[in-house]
Symmetry: C2
Subunit: 397 residues, 2 copies
Amino acid sequence: MATGILPVAGVRLAAAAGGIRYQNRDDLVLMELAEGSVAAAVFTRNAFCAAPVIAARRHLGQAAPRYLLINSGNANAGMGEGGLAASLETCRLVAAAAGVAINQVLPFSTGVIGEELPVDPFARAMPDLLSSLEEDNWPPAACAIMTTDTVPKLASRSFQAEGQTVTVTGMSKGSGMIRPDMATMLAFIATDAQISATNLQQALETAVGPSFNSITVDGDTSTNDACVLVATGVSGVDVNAAASGQAFRQAVDGVCMELARAIVLDGEGATKLVEIVVEEAESEAQARDVAYTIAHSPLVKTALFASDPNWGRILAAVGRAGVSHLDISKVRIWLDDVCIVSRGGRDAGYTEEAGQSVMHQPGFTIRIALGKGQARTRILTCDLSFDYVKINAEYRT
Amino acid sequence: MATGILPVAGVRLAAAAGGIRYQNRDDLVLMELAEGSVAAAVFTRNAFCAAPVIAARRHLGQAAPRYLLINSGNANAGMGEGGLAASLETCRLVAAAAGVAINQVLPFSTGVIGEELPVDPFARAMPDLLSSLEEDNWPPAACAIMTTDTVPKLASRSFQAEGQTVTVTGMSKGSGMIRPDMATMLAFIATDAQISATNLQQALETAVGPSFNSITVDGDTSTNDACVLVATGVSGVDVNAAASGQAFRQAVDGVCMELARAIVLDGEGATKLVEIVVEEAESEAQARDVAYTIAHSPLVKTALFASDPNWGRILAAVGRAGVSHLDISKVRIWLDDVCIVSRGGRDAGYTEEAGQSVMHQPGFTIRIALGKGQARTRILTCDLSFDYVKINAEYRT
């Protein structure tokens, strides 16, 4: 058990090697939830959502889930009706072996899009998965859901309420095809708090906004994004009330932020973690347009990789972000606390040395004030390196 | 004179080495237009447009231009009032030496953003530029305006009217920071036709839509985009009338298409020229949203580089392009004539071999039918290679 990763009462996990795509490593995870657990989820808004997303969404609407089944190596996306049948068949395997209904199993897949998901590996691994369920198996589970990730991603928070400890623990995976639009590639968060389904869904949606929905590696929203928050209630602590509810939401927010940040830190080929803050916008939508235009600019991203304060590229990205009636004389841009642009051009006090010293850090903030209003946003991104191209040119070969 | 590049009566050019940034090569071009010439132009819509864009736009509104002054190596962008003063000073140098008004000189710059444009190199080179003006200097001029371009870009067309030959010749530069939004990085096109300013502007705007405004290398719209079309009238052929007007517009369209295509072919690090056609859209705007989402996807672009028919990335890009109520069962995707997606998933007849044989070509078409309407668009883009990262991580160093 990794230091600081707390088990969640009522949640047991198992990982196994199905050999779906990867050899000599685990690629299957079964997550068991205590009876009476409540689940909340958000999914990708990509119109070509994957078969497991369709199945999981449908099952969530029909029953309280008892098992989450996750595979890596194959996204089971873009495979039409056959893909959906395969996803349902993997649920049926769990249901039959564990004695629950099919719609009490939620399937999740991540990996290559457009290849048939083989069901046999699930069937072969099922006895092993069911017999090795343990509360402290979060780390091997987090490893088994990785694709191009280089590190497992785990986070925990706990708080005291009613003389009890309440725990929130989660894991996520994601490295490329990362611009979550409702959720990240995959994230699974569990708590032993007691909470209503409505309050749980609200806590999840609130937490997802500034965390998973405010990160981007390459602007590519996945077909398989899903983020699930389950509450087993086993701690006996009711967090529906105001006071403990706040502590609960803070814990969920903290876990989501830490997991989202870990995804960008592990962005494919990433060497830098860059926070982009846009303020003085007319609306949050406008602030986000500007922030994502900067975050997705290949020229800005390669300059970040080179630690080159080629701020003209940031300025050019702000200029093309579609802000109507932008008065460039009011725009200011900073690298951490170094002002680089004011009054429509290079700030009088700016020196190349000051810019360079910020850019050489492994992480820093690009801040833009638009001079138009009060709205503000904050997103996280990374640079574009040789390794991003290498990883994605070689991913299937 | 390169084969096939025709001089334009009434236009003389000169190139010289100012040493603004590059050593041992030309970086300054002076283009002289016969008295009575008419000019049309389109400029970047980037809010942070460069000082020369501001100056050229202002001068065009005041007088008929006699000289175009172009430098490479420094964009004179992001430099505030000082940048504008520098641009105007370079115009003043030409005006004084050539005996014309300052506002009869249009300045253009391309290169690094955010560095002061030195005026001295212009002053030193001015006598040399004025004394070496020649009608057949298009090739050295096209070389002198290059930045990260690897080849000069030139195109010519001619047609017969009223027993005379009318010529349209142009040059362009551009390789990175290419998603023109009104025009490309820089393009200068000249004709000896006689035409009204209104008809000339209309011919240019019509030509720019499917050419310079339908290409993207990296989605980054430049601060300095400008495309100028001048008509000297020296041929004596009036092309305002319907018949000759059509031949004229065809010639302008042809030159613009050839120059735009050359920019993508020479895209930074590009190894592939890819046409993206989106049809059956509800509107051209919707078709363009889908086309550009595919063209800007780093995952699609690296798959193109790898010649890997990882079509799931194309499908995922279509799915996140924001098309409302997209019925994925109606979407079809082809690589040239190979259907890869139909009925919401991989086409039944698709084979990896067929996809691979298309992707291994140096150029091919990705075609998407949305099944929603009648609108259609076509854009050109290129792949994302190691060399794109290398070029842009090392550009200033």
